[in-house]
Amino acid sequence: MRLVKNYLVPESIEQAMEMLKSPDYKIIAGGSKINSEKTGEYGLIDIRKCGLNYIKVTQGILHIGAMTRISELLDNKDFCGLGESFVNALKSTGHAIVRNQITIGGSVSSLTPWFNLATLLLLADANIIYIDENNSGSISFREYCDNSPREFIRRKIIKEITIPIKKYEFKYIRFSQTEVDYAPLYVACSGKTPDSLKIAISGCLPEPKLFDNSDFHISDLSSETVEKSCNDFIEKIKGKVISTNVNFSREYIIKILPRLIKESIMEEK
């Protein structure tokens, strides 16, 4: 038994927003996060009947409704057309059973460290379309991650995630002991020159984060330069690195991270 004081199932987003005005109520999407919480008594608002389960393309943009399951994305040709990195990220999300439960909206709102897609959403300039009491709004996934996301989303409902349609050639590294384990570290990279370089890191930071060459100061793509820049970069951010996995200590993550960033940069060229 979970500590749930009431369970509401609105028929529309407007109804759900009205219910969300009660301070001790929160949204339940797939439920994989909320249902694993052992404490806390609150009311739940189940948005499964609010019409948020869809994947569609309009004017070159992929729209993914918040209640879309990870397994449904994997079955969608438009999503898989975004590139191998996107497919690989989803195929290693949790395991086959839990992918039938995890939703994209729940993942974005909770930003669990094992949200495999986060680095790719940062690189692809994905947007979040949300509803709040004043109407609807939009925020880039990057801006969301950079500005206290869990606080930002508290009294809002994520409607959909949008991704510009194209074939992305991102280098994506998931650092784990097994294919389907929850990984402590994800690194993704795009860009073919130092100036266009973008690197996203998630799992080991409090929130997913996008960096560019103003953070790395890579002057050329020689192995020595990249290695030195990566090591210097880690010195600057290591205070923010958190340990999230019983298999890997924080110290080990700090040691391995520059090597993975270097690998993501060098193999991309």
């Binding site: 369970y7 249902n35 059973i97």
Partner: protein, 155 residues
């Protein structure tokens, strides 16, 4: 709160607390094939099929699935009239303590419904959410292949 579930084809009404998880509801209602393992979505022993999708019943509130179609192993077959997948698991020696077996049977059922002739890697992928700690996985993969053949031959 009141909910209605269709379990193995039977429509059943329940009056539940909003925090009741589906695993507990099913076991209390007599569906003992649904095993109480980790209760945190890791082991797959409580796996059931909800509206055609394998799902860990420990990670789902009963309220979340009001109106759903649920299949447990009791709905597939029994000792007198086993499902071909159940026969295949026995014949392949893929059952030792048996605790993980119902979950694996249902993952296999879902897989073969979608993909009647899976490769080894597709089988491993489909069973990736079902942990076994005694039999090992080789015979279970054999069992899935045997089940695929049985189901194909029976058509």
């Amino acid at each position: 709160m009141k909910i209605t579930l269709t379990i193995n084809g039977d429509v059943r009404d329940f009056d539940i607390e909003p925090g009741k998880i589906l695993l507990d509801l099913l076991r209390e209602a007599g569906y003992k094939s649904v095993k109480d393992g980790c209760r945190e979505g890791e082991c797959g022993a409580c796996n059931v099929i909800i509206n055609g999708k394998t799902t860990n019943s420990c990670m789902v509130l009963a309220a979340q699935v009001d109106g759903a179609d649920i299949i447990t192993v009791e709905g597939l077959g029994n000792a007198d009239n086993p499902h071909p997948i159940q026969e295949a698991f026995v014949e392949a020696g893929a059952v030792q303590c048996g605790f993980c077996t119902p979950g694996k049977i249902l993952s296999t059922y879902s897989l073969l419904k979608k993909n009647p002739q899976p490769t080894d890697s597709e089988i491993k992928e489909a069973l990736s959410g079902n942990l076994c700690r005694c039999t090992g996985y080789v015979k279970q993969i054999d069992a899935v292949k045997k089940a695929a053949k049985k189901m194909k031959d029976s058509k």
